[in-house]
């Protein structure tokens, strides 16, 4: 039942309202609203009960194994949440004066330092509010760099075909033409194809390493050489940083600019869609272009540096500082892990992925890249099952829900047919991995003996399989009281 269907005119959560409706005398009629907005009129308990019960209809990390590839669904420590909401932090106005800001700014400064260490980049800006905004900032810096040199003929950004959709979309937003680079059969960038398209029109390349194919791009140094020789820059999509934390630094691989997804690698909550935080790091030559604000330390005082003192900055990404509360959570997480802990993240994420890959392969599932190590994630392709049994990756995904496991990422990357991109993360115990593997085997058996059962899944969720086609065709995006 929708909250609106529990609404009744005149009902209210009285304790949540100012006691009286004070009279507004100074706003002329012509500016005033005439109609009551369609907000629910419910009691406090009705609201609490409604949203509590709604919440129970979600899978989440706190309730289920959630091996969504490329999303790094690891445990979000509860302590990060409660500490980021301490009154001193929660109630600080973004434009509070400097002496009511030292606590917050010191955390931001320290976080910048940690991220520099982790990435091997020279300077970091915390401004971008998610990965895609980090990408935007990064590509905008690439543009600004070339522009500053008067090198305006660089109109193309190269993107491997396996790249996440935000990469090409970002390049477009920055007014670049996108050129796709094919992948070879082992999951590496096709170097010959790359060489063919590189040229004076190349502004740069956007790479994820490990790539979204779940393998480490081994020729990264060679690629960096090719791009740099052509005058282009290398952009690092840090969505997969979890795989290499403390093991390899993007700066050492030759990247000029990178973004990180703190809501992945630094375990800030995904919140059913967001928020995220997508700080960017740069090599020496891109420092002038970093988005503002930045935090600096002078004489033990922390200060915010804005566009005023950074004339070449690509500018601001948000109205105020950034997704500050998320950055606080990431900082707390980073401090709890510490340098050793970060190393371990990569190790155990990789251990878990390789273990699952081996076990699933042993169980007869086809790997997309059987000759490669898994990084923190890996790909299984169900194309045989789709073809021979008529049971596709989506069917397996839905049936997994009945077994109590969130499905892996499906149908991405686009170039592997009927794929599952599986990322267990380091915070899952071996027992969970084994349980998932057993479920996959059981579903395989079902698919072989009773394909219909799998194709009709799920059965145990609050709803059965939903009609996405109807959703898109007969758009119903808001509830309206008239229809009822």
């Amino acid at each position: 039942m929708l909250i609106f269907e529990q609404s009744k005119s005149g009902r209210k959560s009285a304790a949540q309202q100012p006691a009286k409706l004070v009279e507004v005398k100074d706003i002329p009629e012509q500016f005033r609203r005439k109609s009551k907005p369609l907000l629910p009129e419910v009691s406090e308990m009705q609201a609490v009960r409604h949203f509590t019960r709604l919440s129970q209809k979600n899978f989440s990390i706190d309730t289920h194994f959630y091996p969504l590839g490329s999303c790094t669904m690891k445990y979000n420590p509860r302590g990060c949440n409660s500490l980021a909401l301490l009154p001193g932090f929660a109630n600080r106005h973004p434009l509070a004066p400097v002496n009511l800001s030292q606590g917050f700014l010191s955390c931001m400064y320290d976080l910048q330092e940690i991220l520099k260490d982790v990435t091997g980049m020279k300077e970091v800006s915390l401004a971008p509010m998610a990965g895609a905004q980090g990408e935007f900032a990064g590509v905008a810096m690439i543009r600004a760099y070339h522009d500053a040199k008067g090198d305006t003929g660089r109109t193309e950004i190269l993107v491997p075909d396996a790249a996440h959709g935000t990469n090409p979309a970002t390049a477009t937003m920055c007014n670049f033409k996108v050129r796709e680079i094919p992948t070879n059969k082992d999951g590496d960038v096709d170097i010959n194809a790359l060489k063919e398209v590189v040229g004076p029109q190349t502004a740069g390349i956007m790479l994820t390493n490990p790539s979204t194919l779940g393998v480490f791009e081994r020729k990264i140094k060679e690629i960096a050489g090719i791009i740099h020789d052509a005058g282009g820059l290398l952009y690092y999509d840090g969505a997969n940083l979890n795989a290499i934390l403390g093991k390899v630094k993007p700066g050492d691989m030759g990247f000029d600019v990178i973004h990180m997804n703190l809501h992945k690698t630094f375990s800030t909550p995904h919140g059913g869609g967001g928020p995220g935080a997508g700080p960017v790091g740069v090599s020496e030559r891109l420092i002038p272009y970093l988005p503002v604000p930045l935090v600096v330390k002078n004489d033990d005082q922390y200060h915010v540096v804005t566009e005023k003192s950074c004339p070449d900055s690509i500018g601001r990404m948000s109205a105020f500082f950034a997704n500050s509360g998320i950055l606080l959570r990431a900082y707390i997480y980073a401090r709890m892990l510490g340098s050793e802990g970060m190393n371990r993240v990569a190790e155990y994420a990789t251990l878990n992925a390789n273990y699952m890959m081996k076990k699933l392969s042993d169980a007869g599932f086809e790997l997309a890249f059987p000759n490669r190590r898994a990084t923190h994630e890996f790909i299984v392709t169900l194309k045989k099952q789709a073809k021979e049994l008529g049971v596709n990756a989506m069917d397996y995904a839905k049936r997994l829900l009945d077994y109590g496991y969130h499905a892996p990422t499906t149908y991405f990357p686009l170039l592997v047919p009927e794929c599952f991109l599986i990322e267990p993360t380091e915070t899952e115990a071996r027992e969970e991995l084994d349980g998932f593997i057993e479920a996959m085997k059981a579903i395989q058996a079902e698919a072989e003996s009773d394909a219909g059962k799998v194709k009709g899944a799920p059965y145990t969720m609050p709803v059965k399989r939903l009609d996405d086609v109807k959703a898109a065709k007969e758009l119903d995006l808001t509830w309206s009281p008239v229809e009822q």
Binding site: S101, C107, G272
Partner: protein
């Protein structure tokens, strides 16, 4: 090993199963020369107890007693239930609802959110959030350029009464695509865009941005501005404060036809000030433009049994399907904040939101009256206002800000960095959270500071 569940036995068994002898071997595809020697400056790990102590000490440094700053981030009462529910693991630690059947909680909530926002703005549809108010405006500008069928122009008219940061962010994001932002200056006496000052022949432009209330808290002549833009075949982008919409005409009702797109900052709906984020940007538009709208959209549909259910829809607009041709690159949005906002709006209700808006309005006026009763303090603009006002002092405001902050009070926002013409001006805001005594405290402190300044 914080957050890692493996025992030594597990590791041994798992390595055996894989057929390697050490975890390190799993990294053998990484060229040896790239392997780093580990982290250098990052400190050693600490326990939750230790970091709690550190954070408590740092948070205590920033403890604010009274906040009179607004400027796009407002202190409102947030019902305790909002965050107690929003941080339930099922909301807090879920991903974007890709598997709809296992995400009905988030999806239904978002559908309810869309309904509320569409109604508040008086428009047909809403997306499921953008990053914040500023970036929502940037996306609205890009969208308007795409959506305006009557004009191919890439010119956008944007008043200087739009939040300076919003204008900066929009500039950051849209200029790469050759879009130009032309600023309209405001009336110095009244702090609004006088419709009479608009050019009769503005030339071709894609859209006009109209803030209501504007950055100074003043009310714009939204009807006249909307009609003017529409007369020139431009779209109208409304930038609005959602709290104000309980009192003020919704963008859908502006002028003869209503605004085309409304966007703004969702923070007043249940998000703590939290140093500027996470907040969320909202965006609503007419049905006709829905396919040009960026961001996630949730639709109601049915399941195999014909039972109502909710799912992500119109995904063909988005980067993961459309890639370089997507409406935007946005992927992660601000879902958790939308969760909070939806709970907030449900708890506060239409009458409650109106009371919040009215109390904030009246408190601000009362504060202005108190302060302008002092020598050397005057009100700058004579327009009707929502819940902010610009005050002029007869000495530099930095000293006031500093002296007040020593008392734990955030006095307001200094304007002269962005508006050189507003020297010695402070913008103040008193929401429903402020009592009569709080306003008096402000006044008394100003008196005290003034006395001190004189005696220097």
């Amino acid at each position: 090993m914080p957050f890692i569940p493996h025992t030594d036995d597990d590791v041994r068994d798992m390595l055996d199963a894989i057929g390697v002898s050490s975890i390190d071997e799993l990294f053998d595809e990484i060229p040896a020369e790239l392997r780093s020697g580990g982290l250098e400056t990052t400190p050693e790990g600490v326990s939750e107890m230790e970091i709690a102590r550190i954070m408590q000490e740092r948070a205590a440094q920033d403890e604010t007693r009274l906040c009179f700053a607004g400027g796009g981030a407002y202190e409102h009462h947030i019902p305790a239930a909002v965050w107690e529910i929003a941080t339930r693991g099922e909301f807090y630690s879920a991903y974007t609802p890709y598997q709809a059947e296992a995400s009905q909680g988030t999806l239904q909530l978002l559908y309810e959110y869309q309904t509320m926002m569409a109604s508040l703005t008086g428009l047909d549809v809403s997306n499921a959030s953008l990053y914040d108010g500023a970036s929502a405006l940037a996306e609205a500008v890009l969208m308007a350029v795409r959506a305006n069928r009557k004009s191919k122009s890439k010119r956008i008219l944007i008043p200087r009464t739009v939040h300076p940061s919003y204008r900066k962010v929009t500039r950051t994001i849209v200029t790469g695509q050759g879009i130009s932002l032309e600023e309209l200056d405001y009336d110095r006496d009244s702090g609004y865009i006088d419709p009479a000052s608009l050019p009769a022949d503005p030339g071709d432009f894609a859209a006009l941005v109209i803030p209501q209330p504007n950055f100074f808290g003043s009310l714009e002549e939204v009807d006249a501005l909307t009609d003017w833009a529409h007369q020139h075949n431009a779209l109208v982008i409304a930038v609005v404060n959602p709290t104000s919409l309980a009192l003020l005409k919704s963008p859908g009702e502006w002028g003869t036809e209503g605004a085309d797109i409304a966007c703004g900052e969702g923070q007043p709906l249940g998000a703590p000030l939290s140093s500027g984020g996470p907040y969320f940007g909202f965006m609503c538009c007419r049905q006709a433009f829905v396919r040009q709208m960026p961001g996630r959209i949730i639709g109601r549909t049915v399941d195999l049994d014909g039972k109502e259910g909710f799912t992500l829809t119109l995904q063909a607009r988005e980067q993961h399907i459309r890639r370089s041709k997507a409406t935007s690159n946005i992927c992660t949005n601000q879902g958790l904040l939308v969760t909070a906002a939806t709970i907030y709006m449900s708890l506060i209700g239409p009458a409650g939101l109106e009371k919040v808006a009215a109390a904030s309005h009246v408190n601000t006026i009362s504060l202005v009256e108190k302060l302008t009763s002092l020598d050397g303090v005057s009100k700058v603009f004579d327009r009707p206002l929502f819940h902010e006002a610009v005050l002029k002092f007869d000495s530099p405001v930095d000293e006031i800000i500093q002296a007040m902050s020593d008392q734990g009070i955030v006095a307001g926002i200094k304007l002269e960095d962005d508006y050189p013409e507003l020297e010695n001006c402070l913008m103040v805001c008193a929401t429903e959270t402020k009592t009569e005594a709080d306003l008096e405290t402000y006044k008394e402190n100003i008196e005290r500071i003034a006395v001190r300044q004189m005696s220097c």
